[in-house]
């Protein structure tokens, strides 16, 4: 029974010589009988038994994710703002202290180096980027920091825990005596070395908490006592896809521009004189229009849409970038990169058969309800 390798497995030869890194919560995952898998050089929980049950926990109540493998980088110094104005395609000035802004770092040809959240702080900025891109992003920041008065500081002393779901805020407040219910969306609060931000990757309300590694176990246990269920990377993938949120390395990479990934809204074109890396190439693509776009695809029948499958549309062929069985909807959904103008019905090639599907605009699910038409 040869099982197709899903995205979160790395080929064994890539990880064999490198010991896997462990987060501060590793022992708790093992004690909870999590299925631990290699992910971007880390040993991470894929699920704690059933990824579908964990998915529903987040949609219906509250779940928590150990996302400490993600990269937290603090930028300090008088040149921090200028560095981000050069590298971050969104408007760094939206990241006032206590505010968070989502956006991308681009290469010179307008391809995406990574998608990140930039948090404004009293003392500069915090950039949270992906695990798999850790070295690349740090190198990119450091190389460009040369021209500015800025210190680039990777924060491996911090753990990162995401608490997500309709009960996330009340459970977090009960577990910590930190009242976060009044915290606005994409706002952050810092207290005693913790940063609590009302952000997430599930389409539900919730917070992401960066805190010292040696306090992570206590918070995880308190959240558990407050009724928050642990959820693994597999549930995180189905939740983010339902929510229409992209995964770097799969739905976008250095060969695709934000305009080809539904991320045009994250590019700040004003002021016109801001010369951010990738602007020129991106402006050219913008004026002629991208040839490919990212769309949602849904399959009403049986079968599961998977990464790499061919899609035939009214405007030509395309490729599935991410696909899952949606636990909330009860059928398969995915993202596909399609020729511009593709709409309506399509055919998805699943195991040598063409299965009818439909092209939609993501997101698929928000706060537990179907939202696409």
């Amino acid at each position: 029974m040869p099982v197709l390798a899903p995205c979160w497995y790395q080929p064994a030869d890539e990880v064999m010589d490198m010991p896997e890194r462990r987060t501060a919560l590793y022992d708790l995952h093992v004690a909870a009988k999590a299925r631990m898998v290699p992910f971007a050089g880390w040993s991470m929980p894929l699920n704690y038994g059933s990824q579908i049950a964990e998915h529903h926990d987040v949609r219906r109540s509250a779940g928590m994710f150990d996302v400490s493998h993600m990269t937290i980088t603090d930028l300090t110094g008088t040149g921090a703002r200028e560095l981000l104005a050069r590298l971050f395609a969104n408007d760094v000035d939206k990241a006032a202290p206590g505010r968070a802004v989502y956006g991308v770092l681009l290469n010179a040809s307008g391809g995406v180096i990574d998608d990140v959240i930039v948090y404004g702080r009293d003392s500069g900025y915090r950039v949270v980027s992906n695990a798999a891109t850790c070295e690349k992003v740090l190198d990119w920041l450091r190389v460009h920091a040369g021209g500015f008065d800025v210190a680039v500081h990777e924060r491996r002393d911090l753990a990162l825990i995401a608490v997500q779901g309709p009960n996330a805020l009340t459970s977090f407040s009960a577990a910590t005596a930190m009242d976060v219910v009044d915290l606005g969306a994409f706002s952050a609060r810092e207290q005693n070395g913790w940063m609590v931000a009302r952000t997430g990757y599930t389409g539900e309300d919730g917070v992401e908490v960066a805190l010292p590694n040696d306090q992570a176990v206590a918070l995880w246990q308190r959240l558990s006592n407050a009724g928050v269920a642990p959820a693994g990377l597999a549930a995180r993938d189905t939740l983010r896809l339902e929510a229409g949120l992209l995964l770097y390395g799969q739905d976008m990479d250095e060969t695709t521009s934000p305009l080809e990934s539904n991320l045009g809204w994250t590019v700040a074109w004003d002021p016109a004189e801001r010369d951010f890396v990738g602007r020129e190439a991106l402006a050219r693509q913008r004026s002629r229009g991208p040839e490919r776009v990212l769309r949602g695809v849904v399959l009403a029948g049986r079968g599961v849409i998977r990464q790499g499958q061919r899609v035939e549309t009214n405007a030509g062929g395309g490729t599935v970038t991410s696909g899952i069985f949606s636990p909330t909807l009860g059928y398969s959904i995915g993202f596909a990169r399609l020729p511009r103008g593709a709409t309506g019905d399509c055919l998805i090639e699943i195991r040598r058969s063409d299965i009818p599907g439909r092209i939609v605009r993501p997101p698929f699910v928000r706060q537990g309800k179907q939202v696409f038409k």
Partner: protein, 140 residues
């Protein structure tokens, strides 16, 4: 796959035979019932569809007989012995999760009227299959 926990190792009952490709087979009244092992269902994760063969289909030992899809991946299920499909577990259409919950019982896939029952001897016994699973774990 790295299964670092030792106390939730797969259940491998003694009274079944196993294919290296992780199907189990069991003889009842000269028919061979087929399913996938606990190791297989743990590796696949939550099963969401089973595309069963049709009653009357001819199947060959080691050849694809049907497909199981989990949230995570699609996998071919091979017939452990050759013969004719004489029954399928239609309950899996509505409740594919039974493959995860009871892989050796209610989660069975299909039954074969075998052409040569001695093909069962080519399959692994529980000890042999246990070693096979451990060697697959070690590969990661």
């Amino acid at each position: 796959m790295n299964d670092v926990t030792s106390d939730n190792g797969p259940d491998i009952p003694d009274d079944f035979r196993y294919a290296p490709s992780h199907e189990w087979a069991r003889v009842e009244d000269d028919q061979v019932t087929v399913g996938i092992s606990d190791f297989a269902q743990q590796s696949l994760g939550d099963v969401v569809y089973v595309e069963l063969p049709q009653v009357g289909d001819e199947v060959s030992a080691g050849a694809e007989a049907c497909v199981v899809e989990s949230v995570k991946a699609a996998a071919d299920v091979y017939a452990p012995v050759s013969g004719t499909v004489v029954a399928i577990n239609e309950a899996l259409e509505e409740a594919p999760e039974m493959v995860n919950q009871d892989p050796y019982g209610d989660g069975w896939f299909f039954k074969i009227e075998p052409t040569a029952l001695d093909e069962m001897d080519d399959l692994l016994d529980a000890d042999g299959y246990q070693q096979h699973c451990e060697s697959e774990d070690d590969e990661d």
